[in-house]
Symmetry: C2
Subunit: 443 residues, 2 copies
């Protein structure tokens, strides 16, 4: 069972549970299921109807306030007034496509590209992280004339046909495609002497050899550099350098999917790859880019983009529209003006210290990992076996205490602590106190 499937099986609404529900909620769920059909997925045994968002909080239809420790799309805070105002103002003035010149679009492209190291100087704007990764795969194929890709075992990179092939966490009956190899997540606990850099690079090298032997060739390695759905692996900083060196030595491209770590989350700069002091060949952007306005992007070298464009005409109707540019600019402004990267580092450190302190009182807490405001906390049994049941119980108890949170990892036993970047020290303290109380009550 894939991680996503396991996590959702534990923390989602199941039709079998409808019997005990409040009739009004049951009716609402019924309407959702009637329209969305088999694609309907709702969090929690008792799904929540949301009506309002503000900063780090979401409010449900009954007026209950939830501290959001889960949602990374509203990265600068739910309904941030500066982003909302930018969207409203631009939507009222002009919303068109990139085949006309529009000043705010050029301004955004330049502002965004200025945050990337050379030679990453071209941008293609898309609408989603999925579209971004879909395009990144094709750029890598064009550059390398190869088709084989390597990902981590519980990776998630999006929902298109091509990107689902490199997203094993989405598989149900689906199997790994012939042109894809999945390597284990870079867990230092699994490495001899903790040298995860060497182990991870060796696993990638073996996968490259296998792709070559199978006739697919090697186009690239793609990773979200904080390994979000694998269970959050951030340390030691720089461990990806050996992996990147192997990928390059073997003629492949290193694709950094910044949908999760990007836009300041890891607390060490705007981009997760900078934590590893590497320069990727392609960078993909999504989720937090517009704080909820649908937008994504692909950043790469001009010659790599030209190789793809020589083969295929690419146009994205909504990609690079001026409203997206306005939202994207406002996000960059808020990150800078509200010191959100520093906050991610400081409040993240406060959270991690607090969790580490809790660990001495609660043996069910295993490893604690992460960077900035993206922390993973494992729940394990006394014999160190992954314990997704405890993770699930904590997630549901957190909901009862007004906190939204989720799980990650191959076994779904990792609490995924990933709040909006405006998460304040007092929010962290409330979270820590609540977790202490829940674990105490669980005995």
């Amino acid at each position: 069972m894939s991680a996503t499937k396991q996590i959702l099986a534990l923390n989602r609404f199941e039709a079998d549970n409808a019997a005990g529900l409040d009739p009004e909620l049951a009716e609402r769920i019924g309407r959702r299921q009637a329209t969305f059909g088999a694609s309907s997925v709702l969090f929690y045994e008792q799904p929540i109807e949301m009506v309002r968002g503000e900063g780090v909080f979401l409010y449900d239809v009954h007026g209950t306030r939830y501290l959001d420790v889960y949602n990374n799309v509203p990265s600068v805070g739910h309904c941030h007034p500066r982003v909302v105002e930018a969207i409203a103002r631009q939507a009222a003035a002009l919303n068109t496509n990139t085949r006309y010149l529009v000043r705010i679009v050029e301004t955004y492209a330049e502002r965004l590209l200025a945050t990337f190291p050379a030679p990453l100087s071209n941008l293609v704007m898309t609408c989603t992280g999925s579209e971004s990764n879909d395009l990144a795969l094709r750029i890598a194929e064009s550059v390398t004339n190869a088709r084989g890709f390597i990902v981590t075992r519980s990776a998630y990179h999006g929902n298109t046909a091509a990107v689902t092939h490199i997203s094993p966490s989405s598989f149900k009956s689906q199997k790994l495609a012939p042109h894809v190899r999945a390597v284990p997540a870079p867990d230092p606990l699994e490495a001899p002497k903790g040298d995860i850099a060497t182990l991870f690079a060796a696993q990638i090298k073996a996968a490259i050899d296998d792709l070559r032997a199978s006739g697919h060739g090697f186009a690239g390695f793609i990773a979200d550099t904080i390994f979000s759905s694998d269970g959050i692996f951030a340390d030691p900083p720089g461990f990806l350098q050996k992996a990147a060196a192997v990928v390059r030595a073997e003629g492949g491209l290193f694709i950094a999917d910044e949908v999760q770590p990007g836009f300041g989350r890891t607390g060490g700069g705007l981009w997760g790859f900078s934590r590893h002091a590497i320069v990727p060949d392609i960078v993909t952007l999504g989720k937090p880019m517009g704080n909820g306005f649908p937008m994504g992007g692909v950043i790469t070298r001009p010659d790599y983009l030209a190789a793809f464009c020589a083969e295929t005409g690419y146009f994205n109707t909504f990609g690079g529209n001026p409203v997206a540019a306005a939202a994207g600019l406002a996000v960059l402004d808020v990150i800078a003006d509200e010191n959100l990267i520093a906050n991610a580092a400081q409040t993240g450190a406060l959270l991690k210290d607090g969790l580490t302190a809790l660990k001495s009182d609660f043996p069910q807490i295993g490893d604690i990992r992460g960077a900035g405001l993206f922390i993973g906390l494992d729940f394990t049994t006394p014999d160190a076996t992954p314990d997704p049941a405890t993770a699930s119980a904590v997630i549901n108890a957190m909901k009862q205490h007004g906190i939204l949170i989720g799980a990650a990892g191959l076994y779904g036993h990792t609490l995924k602590i990933r709040p909006p970047l405006c998460f304040a020290p007092n929010n962290a303290e409330f979270f820590l106190e609540t977790l202490r109380g829940i674990l105490k009550a669980m005995g």
Copy 2:
């Protein structure tokens, strides 16, 4: 050379032409090219910098007003105040994902689904037409256990890896994939006795046989039912019934891509397929759905969606967000309240009559086709050869006279008349007068 490539080669900015440009415009273009690189495509030999949109008009940086006869995304009019207000209001209140219940999302889903015939009762919300078609292909594969698809020769269905395979108009050096067959566009002029229904169905049948013989099987046929990028083929109404019957008889799915004809454009109802009195197996939505807010959708039968969801977990982060639902609801409201379907029929008829009247004075006008506010007008030489050069000259002259318009078709010789649906009779008259003047001046 594909149609898109040919059309763009004629009507886009080329770096070689930069010499004669106004220095300020040249500088702006340089900034665009420096950031967007090889993916930068700008309309016209002298690109336009837009600053404002309102109704059927776009305004450039010099205050020049352009009548928009090209852009179908702002379908209810550029920056329609009701859509803008709906976006601004919802963005300020709540913007989250479909794993929580949100009333406006259910309301929109129900409202939209109510416009579709049985058994089309499930909706998956996406962010773009590309994502919609990408998902539709996989649903068809899951239902049929086959992989072969049939499209028309100059079709365009979007920009993902999977969808580009069924979009020959995007090909440059790319070739048709082994699992795809392209049939000629359904041009009645090519059919014996004009019986395009029989000819088109026979061409599809031959392609199905060929896919089967090649071992790919037959998953489905996908068409935009007004054949937008093939050159606009709308008549006779109902000609697709024979095609749909063949597709079903052979075990494939009929996918109607409503990105172009949908949301009232053809003047006979909300959906283009209803013009043919067929019920597709899957319908895909995009462009005009949110009047420029990035959103798309897939509509299908519950059992078909369930077949796909059993294999693969599908989640679309931005898809079905409440701001998209608000935009989508406002679009449906405006279409109804401003009688835009009736306007598409009436103003479209006025346009078509006017163009037909012009034809008697100008022999370079060939066939005139279309439905509602989507009309194609061929330019041909005296020996009836497609004449893309005249189409291009007209497009550039139109720009000088303050009208935005483009071309379509296998040879790029078809003027694509596709204004926002609020196009009024006086807009049509101005367009007809301008076209008359241009053709007269061209001698």
